[in-house]
C-alpha cells in the first residue's frame, strides 16, 4: 500500500486557550487551523501539553505488545525535546477522520505492520510544531530571538533565561503552530534509534495494574458467554435452560437475533460459563458446513493439479511447462498448510455500557475502532457521534481482533440490544470459544515445478497456489482483490523479489469451509515457506550453496534485491553460515514483507527421526530507520517464536464441519524450552521506517525446514510433527 506524501496533509496547530492546554495535530485537509478559539474537537491532537508541563502523546494505534505506545511517544519526545520519562501516552478515541491509518484510507486501525510506517512523519511533525510554538512563546516573553533559544529535556533556555516548557503553555496556546516545522536531521536524533529507550508500558504490565478489556469490572455489569454452533452455518431452533437455572448467578438465556447462538447472562463469569455448560440447544444444521479437513485437503490438492483459475503472471503456462519438461533436472514439491488459530493470550472480550445521553461506550482492546463504531451505531440504533470506543491494552491479537465482520463486538451488541441497557454487558470468550471459533489462517496448497539447465540455472518455474480468500465478500475486498485475485493469497509469490526467469504462477480459490482471517504476516505465512523451501531444494539439486544461490537470484539493482542481499549476508555472517557447531545443521530463509526485509539462519541439533532441537536463530532485519531498536528485537523474537511454534506442531482440523481442537492441550503453544537463543541484528538504514510486528514470522518456519532437510526429509506439509518430525 503506498501513500503519496500530499495525502498526509499539513500541520494544524490550535489551542484550547481557556484550559491552557497546547494541542497540536496534523490535518489531512492541508488547511491551517485558526489559532485562537479554534474548535479543538476538529483537530486530531497527537500531543497535548498541560500548563504543568505534562506532555501526553495520543497514540492512534492499539497496543497489543508490538510497541506503538513506546514508538509513537518516542517520535513526539524526540522532536519536542523532552525525555522519555517526561512524556505520557493515551490511546486515541474512535474518530477515523482524525486518527485514520494513512495506509488504510478513511479507517482508524492497526494492521499490516503499518503503525510506524504511517505515523513516522505525522508524529514527528506534531512534536516539532509543539516545540516551535513553545519557543516562539518564550521568544516573545523574554524578547530573545528564537534562533538563540533551545529546548532540551523539557527546558527552554537562551539569552540568560531558563524555564520549563509548562510556563509557556498558556502563551503558546494563543499562537498559531507553524505549518512546516523543521524536523530534525537523523544525525540529531537522541531518542530515535536509541537502544536504551525503555518500553513505556512495562511498569503497569509487571505489577498487575495494566487494564485489558478482560479486566472491566463494573459493579452492575452482566457477563455474557455465548453458546455457539459447533458447525459454521448452523442456527438455533430452540434451547432448554432448565439445567442452567439452578446455577447461582445465572440471570437468563436468550437466542441472539441472528440465531447464531444463545447468549447466557449471569452475574459473573463463572456463573455464565457454568450455566452455558448446562444449556441444551437444538440446532438447525441444514445449512451447516459438513466437510472434514481431509475433504478440504483433497480439494486443495486437486486444485493445484489442474489448470489454475487465475493466471497471475499473465504468460503462457504451456510454454513454461514445456521448458521445464526439457530441462536437465526437475525439482517438484507439493505443499500443504493447515488452518491455524491465532489464540491471543487474552481471550476475546469487550464490554458495552450505556451513557446518560443515550449513547454507548465500547470498552475493547480495539484493533480497528472504525468498524465496531459503525456496527454498534447500527445495531443499537445510536447516532454515530454517540458511540465512543475506549481502547484498552490488548492481550495479543496476531490479527484476530480485526475481523471484517467485527464478529465479537457484534455479538456483544446483539447481547446488549436484548436488554433494557441499564446494566453494562461484558462479553467473554473462553479459550475453547477462541480455538473453535473460526477466523483461521486459511488452509493453502502450493505445487511448484522447477526446471534446471545443465549449468544449474533455473530454466522455468511453474507455481500453483490454491486456498480460501481472506478478503472476498468482505469490506476489505476493494483493497486487496484485483481482477478476481486476492493479493493476500499470493503475496510473496507474485510478486517475488527473486529474479526468476520463466516464471508462471496461478491461483485457484476454494470455497469456504470455515471463516478465515489474516494471521500474523497473512499470505506470507505460506508463500515465504514455499519460496524459501524451493530455493533450498533447487540450490541443493544444482549443487550450490543455499546462500550463494539466493544471492545469485538477488543480484539485480532494485532496492528490494539490494536490501534482501544486505540482510541475507548479515544473517549468514552473524549466524556463522556454513560453520555451524559440530553435529548441528543450519537452514536459511530470507523474505520481504510489509516493506521490511528479514533473513534468518536456524541452527538445530539432532534430526527429524531422533528429535530436533532448535539451538539458535540468527536474524537480520532491515526495517528502515530503527526507531526503537529494542522493540524491533523483541518483535523479531516474538515473530520468530510465533512462526516456529505453529510450524512445529499446530493445526486446526475439521471433522464433519466441527473443529477438533479445543484448548491449549491440543493446540499446544510454543514453550520456553523450545528455542535456544534468538540473536537479532538490525541493519543501519536511513530509509523511512517500516513495520516489524509481522516480518519476523515468514522466514522462520522455512529456515527450520531447511535446517531439517540438511540431514533429513524436506517437510512440505505442516505441522512438522504430523509429517513425522520429532522435537527434542
Amino acid at each position: 500500500m503506498s501513500v503519496s506524501t500530499s495525502r498526509r496533509g499539513f500541520l494544524k496547530g490550535a489551542a484550547a486557550s481557556a484550559a491552557a492546554v497546547l494541542v497540536i495535530g496534523v490535518a489531512p485537509s492541508g488547511v491551517m487551523a485558526a489559532a485562537n478559539g479554534a474548535d479543538t474537537t476538529m483537530l486530531n491532537p497527537f500531543v497535548k501539553i498541560a500548563a504543568d508541563g505534562t506532555v501526553t502523546a495520543i497514540v492512534k494505534h492499539f497496543e497489543k505488545g508490538q510497541g506503538p505506545a513506546t514508538g509513537l511517544t518516542t517520535l513526539i519526545a524526540e522532536e519536542l525535546g523532552v525525555s522519555m520519562d517526561a512524556i505520557e501516552y493515551e490511546f486515541a478515541p474512535s474518530n477515523p477522520k482524525l486518527y485514520n491509518n494513512t495506509a488504510f484510507g478513511p479507517i482508524q486501525g492497526t494492521g499490516g505492520s503499518t503503525a510506524m510506517f504511517n505515523s513516522f512523519k505525522q508524529y514527528r511533525q506534531a512534536g516539532a510544531a509543539a516545540r516551535e510554538v513553545l519557543l516562539q512563546a518564550a521568544s516573545l516573553a523574554w524578547d530573545v530571538p528564537v534562533a538563540e533559544l533551545k529546548l532540551e529535556d523539557g527546558v527552554i533556555s537562551g539569552g540568560g533565561n531558563k524555564a520549563p516548557i509548562g510556563e509557556f503553555v498558556a502563551a503558546a496556546s494563543k499562537l498559531t503552530a507553524p505549518e512546516n516545522p523543521r524536523l530534525k536531521d537523523p544525525s540529531e536524533f537522541k531518542l530515535i534509534g536509541n537502544a536504551s529507550v525503555r518500553r513505556k508500558d512495562t511498569p503497569p504490565k509487571i505489577n498487575g495494574t495494566a487494564k485489558y478489556a478482560m479486566d472491566i469490572q463494573f459493579d452492575n455489569q452482566m457477563v455474557v458467554t455465548i453458546k455457539r454452533a459447533t458447525r459454521k452455518g448452523a442456527t438455533v431452533i430452540s434451547f432448554d435452560d432448565s439445567a442452567a437455572k439452578p446455577v447461582k448467578g445465572f440471570i437468563r438465556a436468550a437466542t441472539l437475533p441472528n440465531k447464531a447462538g444463545v447468549a447466557v447472562y449471569a452475574e459473573n463469569t463463572w456463573a455464565s460459563l457454568q450455566a452455558r455448560e448446562a444449556l441444551e440447544v437444538t440446532w438447525d444444521n441444514s445449512a451447516a458446513e459438513s466437510r472434514s479437513s481431509e475433504d478440504v485437503y483433497k480439494e486443495l490438492m486437486a486444485a493445484v493439479n489442474t489448470e489454475p483459475e487465475y493466471n497471475l503472471t499473465k504468460n503462457d503456462q504451456a510454454e513454461i511447462a514445456g521448458a521445464i519438461e526439457k530441462a536437465d533436472k526437475v525439482v517438484e514439491e507439493t505443499f500443504y498448510f493447515p488452518l491455524l488459530a491465532h489464540a491471543p493470550m487474552e481471550p476475546l472480550t469487550c464490554t458495552i455500557e450505556a451513557t446518560d445521553d443515550g449513547g454507548v461506550i465500547l470498552h475493547d482492546g480495539c484493533q480497528m475502532p472504525t468498524s465496531p463504531h459503525a456496527a454498534l451505531a447500527q445495531i443499537l440504533q445510536v447516532p454515530m457521534d454517540k458511540v465512543q470506543v475506549n481502547t484498552m491494552f490488548a492481550g495479543g491479537s496476531f490479527g484476530r481482533r480485526a475481523t471484517p465482520t467485527v464478529d465479537y463486538q457484534v455479538e456483544a451488541a446483539l447481547a446488549f440490544v436484548m436488554t433494557d441497557r441499564r446494566r453494562p454487558v461484558k462479553l467473554v470468550w473462553s479459550r475453547e470459544d477462541d480455538i473453535t471459533g473460526g477466523y483461521y489462517r486459511p488452509a493453502f496448497a502450493h505445487k511448484v515445478r522447477v526446471g534446471l539447465d545443465a549449468d544449474g540455472n533455473i530454466a522455468g518455474w511453474d507455481h500453483r497456489v490454491a486456498g480460501q480468500s481472506i478478503s472476498k465478500g468482505t469490506p476489505f475486498e476493494a483493497f486487496s482483490v484485483h481482477d478476481g485475485v486476492d493479493h493476500l493469497s499470493v503475496e510473496g509469490v507474485t510478486p517475488t523479489s527473486y529474479s526468476i526467469p520463466g516464471m508462471f504462477a496461478g491461483l485457484t480459490d476454494i470455497k469456504p469451509a470455515t471463516t478465515v482471517l489474516w494471521w500474523r504476516s497473512v499470505g506470507h505465512t505460506h508463500t515465504a515457506y514455499v519460496m524459501e523451501a524451493m530455493m533450498d531444494a533447487v540450490a541443493t539439486a544444482a549443487g550450490r550453496d543455499p546462500v550463494e544461490f539466493r544471492l545469485a537470484h538477488l543480484a539485480g539493482d532494485t532496492p528490494d534485491q539490494k536490501r534482501l542481499t544486505g540482510v541475507l549476508k548479515l544473517a549468514a555472517e552473524k549466524g556463522n553460515w556454513g560453520k555451524g557447531a559440530e553435529g548441528r545443521s543450519q537452514g536459511v530463509a530470507v523474505h520481504k514483507s510489509f516493506g521490511s526485509y528479514v533473513a534468518e539462519v536456524v541452527e538445530i541439533s539432532g534430526d527429524a527421526e531422533n528429535g530436533v532441537k532448535i539451538e539458535k536463530v540468527t536474524c537480520a532485519v532491515d526495517c528502515g530507520i530503527p526507531v526503537n531498536p529494542d522493540v524491533i528485537k523483541a518483535q523479531m523474537e516474538g515473530g520468530i517464536g510465533y512462526g516456529l511454534g505453529h510450524a512445529m506442531r499446530d493445526e486446526i482440523t475439521l471433522e464433519n464441519g466441527e473443529v477438533v481442537q479445543q484448548n491449549f492441550p491440543d493446540y499446544e503453544p510454543l514453550r520456553i524450552g523450545d528455542i535456544g537463543e534468538i540473536e537479532t541484528h538490525i541493519v543501519l538504514s536511513t530509509e523511512a521506517p517500516t513495520g516489524v510486528g509481522e516480518p519476523g514470522t515468514p522466514p522462520s518456519a522455512p529456515a527450520l525446514a531447511n535446517a531439517i532437510a540438511a540431514k533429513g526429509p524436506r517437510v512440505t506439509e505442516l505441522p512438522m510433527t504430523k509429517a513425522g518430525v520429532t522435537f527434542a
Binding site: 497496543e63 497489543k64 505488545g65 508490538q66 510497541g67 525503555r198 518500553r199 508500558d201 512495562t202 511498569p203 503497569p204 504490565k205 509487571i206 505489577n207 498487575g208 495494574t209 495494566a210 487494564k211 485489558y212 478482560m214 479486566d215 469490572q217 457477563v223 447461582k248 459473573n268 463469569t269 463463572w270 460459563l273 491471543p344 493470550m345 487474552e346 481471550p347 491494552f393 492481550g395 495479543g396 491479537s397 496476531f398 473462553s430 479459550r431 529494542d630 522493540v631 523483541a634 518483535q635 523474537e637 516474538g638 520468530i640 517464536g641 510465533y642 484448548n663 491449549f664 492441550p665 503453544p669 510454543l670 514453550r671 520456553i672 524450552g673 523450545d674 528455542i675 537463543e677 534468538i678
Partner: protein, 153 residues
Amino acid sequence: MAISLKLNGQTHKVDAEPGTPLLWVIRDELKLTGTKFGCGVASCGACTVHLDGEPVRSCQTFIEDVEDAEITTIEGLKSTPAQAVQQAWTELDVVQCGYCQSGQIMSAVGLLSENAKPTLEEIDDYMDGNACRCATYQRIRSAIVRASEIMEA
C-alpha cells in the same frame, strides 16, 4: 457458602459455591484483575498465584481448598525475589502484550524463592507451564538469570 480468604495479607469474606475456581473469586468478587484468565484448564499459567508461597494455577484451585492458606497475587508481591524479578523484568523490557506476565512473574518468583541460582535448564523446566503467545521466552530466561544476580548482590 461463606468463605474467608487470606489474600495479600488481608482477610476477605466471600460468598461462593464449592467448586468455584479461586481465579474467578479473585477477579470477579475481589476485583483484583492482575491475575489473568487464559485457558481455565491449567495449561497456560496466566492465572498463577501463590498459595503459602508456592505457585499454583488458580483456575484449577477450588475455593473450598484454600481457606487455610495465605494467598498472594501479583498485586501483593513484595518479597526480595519478587523485587529482584520485577527489577530484572524492567531492565530487560520482557513484556510485549503483557497478558501472560503476571503469571510469568509469579512463577519466576516461585522458582527463585526455592532455588536462588537456577541453571538455564532448571529455568526452562520450571517455567514450562507458563505459555507466552508473544514468545517473550528468551527475555524471561535472561531476566530470571538477571534477577538471580540482583538477589546475590
